[in-house]
């Protein structure tokens, strides 16, 4: 059975990840019937000194009109390895009750980032999904295509 590449996650989280999609394109996808955006990239990283390529997926979900439902996740092997979202009640990594925006932190032993949540600031009262995404991408070290190709070749 093929092995996972989860041992590469800490390095990947430190690296910049480039996705060939613009923020307006993501927003249009969320506004469409699909209601969510997914794009993947083949990210170049180094595994034990050897250059390798890992497929990463960026998923953005939520309803445009419901800021509390906005969330961004970075996935490897269909498992979230990093992400930011909002909960009105959760326990942080120290077991303290919290509410609001937080980041999912990767746990090497569990190969999961579902349990450890760290509160983050700067996302309250984001005036739009667009500004939210710019801030989240900055925090998650995600780069995007600054050119919006959306309607360039329509018809």
């Amino acid at each position: 059975m093929a092995e996972t590449s989860f041992h590469l996650v800490p390095g990947i989280l430190r690296e910049e990840k480039y996705f060939d999609i613009s923020v307006p394109e993501i927003i249009r996808a969320i506004e469409s019937d699909e209601g969510q955006a997914e794009v993947f990239c083949d990210h170049c990283t180094v595994d034990d000194g050897v250059e390798t390529e890992i497929r990463l997926r960026l998923r953005v979900g939520g309803s445009v009109m419901e800021p509390e439902s906005w969330q961004v996740a970075l996935l490897m092997h269909s498992v979230r390895i990093d992400g930011i979202d909002n909960e009105s009640f959760y326990f942080d990594a120290e077991g303290q009750e919290r509410e609001g925006w937080h980041r999912h932190e990767w746990n090497r032993k569990e190969n999961s980032c579902e349990r450890e949540k760290r509160p983050i600031v700067g996302l309250d009262d984001c005036p739009s999904l667009e500004i939210f995404l710019y801030e989240v991408f900055r925090q998650m070290r995600i780069r995007w295509n600054k050119v919006d190709h959306g309607t360039l070749f329509n018809n």
């Binding site: 059975m1 093929a2 092995e3 996972t4 989860f6 060939d20 999609i21 394109e25 209601g35 969510q36 997914e38 794009v39 993947f40 083949d42 170049c44 250059e51 390798t52 390529e53 890992i54 497929r55 997926r57 998923r59 979900g61 939520g62 309803s63 419901e66 509390e68 439902s69 906005w70 969330q71 961004v72 996740a73 996935l75 092997h77 269909s78 498992v79 979230r80 992400g83 979202d85 909960e87 009105s88 009640f89 959760y90 509410e99 190969n111 579902e114 349990r115 295509n145 600054k146 050119v147 190709h149 959306g150 360039l152 070749f153």
Partner: protein, 276 residues
């Protein structure tokens, strides 16, 4: 019996303490002491729709969580969720569990939406890591390294070039050691959102036409899972490529084995720069 009333009182007190209601703009966000499979407290939003009507919904959180935790919702799974919701009198519209309630029905409505949100998260039970096969880029890289002839000085990966209006990137660029050979740039186009990929590639081709140096490079597009691409998108890619390799899922190995010969031809001084 005293035990029963003690249990009742303590449970009522526990549930009461676990219910949190906070105001957000013109709505109330209700957090209930029920935990989803991913250890979240279930949250329900209550909005006044009309003087005597409320909308109770999950704010799209359930669908968003499943999506961001890597679950792929098939039509069957979605139908299953709709059927469960209907049993509780809840509708699923635009990825929201939603119920309209009169004031006297509000408590039932909140619990009904919460139950739907809880049950929907059961999709996580079967969710396991999926090991993808090696990327097409990694395979192309290996083929190019084996192919690299003496007249090629270097094959660089992830090369960014300046177009007239924006920067663009190629997955590989083969630089010749002698001026009589061509520089060949390879762009791998993945199968997700083929139209977007094709439009981007079209823009790249269009934007570098007048860019110094780069416009003289030979462009080769490698289309991953070409069988999943619409004809129009492939057509657009071809229009802006000197050569397009359509890699079909079942014939990937055969297509990649043709790459050295294609590189040989494109690098040759006899190859004429002609699009499509």
């Amino acid at each position: 019996m005293e035990l029963c009333s003690t249990i009742r009182d303590e449970l009522a007190s526990y549930l009461g303490a676990g219910v949190k209601v906070s105001a957000r703009k013109d709505r109330c966000v209700v957090t209930l002491p029920f935990t989803t499979l991913d250890k979240r407290r279930v949250t329900v939003v209550v909005e006044q729709h009309a003087p005597n009507t409320f909308i109770v919904h999950d704010g799209g959180k359930t669908s968003s969580e499943l999506f961001c935790q890597g679950v792929n919702m098939t039509r069957k799974k979605e139908e299953h969720q709709v059927a469960i919701a209907a049993k509780f009198g809840v509708h699923v519209t635009e990825r929201l569990f939603k119920k309209y309630c009169k004031p006297g029905e509000l408590q039932d409505g909140i619990l009904a939406v919460a139950q739907c949100a809880l049950m929907a998260m059961a999709e996580l039970i079967d969710h396991k890591p999926v090991i993808e096969e090696e990327t097409l880029g990694a395979k192309v890289s290996r083929v190019l390294q084996v192919w690299k002839p003496e007249y090629v000085l270097a094959i660089e990966r992830n090369v960014t070039v300046e177009g007239v209006t924006a920067p663009h990137s190629f997955n590989f660029v083969s630089y010749p050691a002698q001026a009589s050979y061509n520089t060949v740039a390879i762009k791998i186009l993945n199968h997700d959102h083929p139209r977007w990929q094709a439009e981007r590639y079209g823009f790249l081709g269009f934007d570098i036409q007048a860019a110094p140096l780069v416009s003289s490079w030979v462009r080769c597009a490698v289309v991953s899972r070409a069988d999943e691409w619409p004809e129009a998108s492939i057509g657009l890619v071809k229009k802006f490529s000197h050569r397009t390799l359509e890699v079909y899922s079942e014939h990937e190995h055969d297509m990649l084995s043709m790459l050295p010969a294609t590189m040989e031809e494109l690098s040759s001084e006899h190859f004429r720069l002609r699009l499509g």
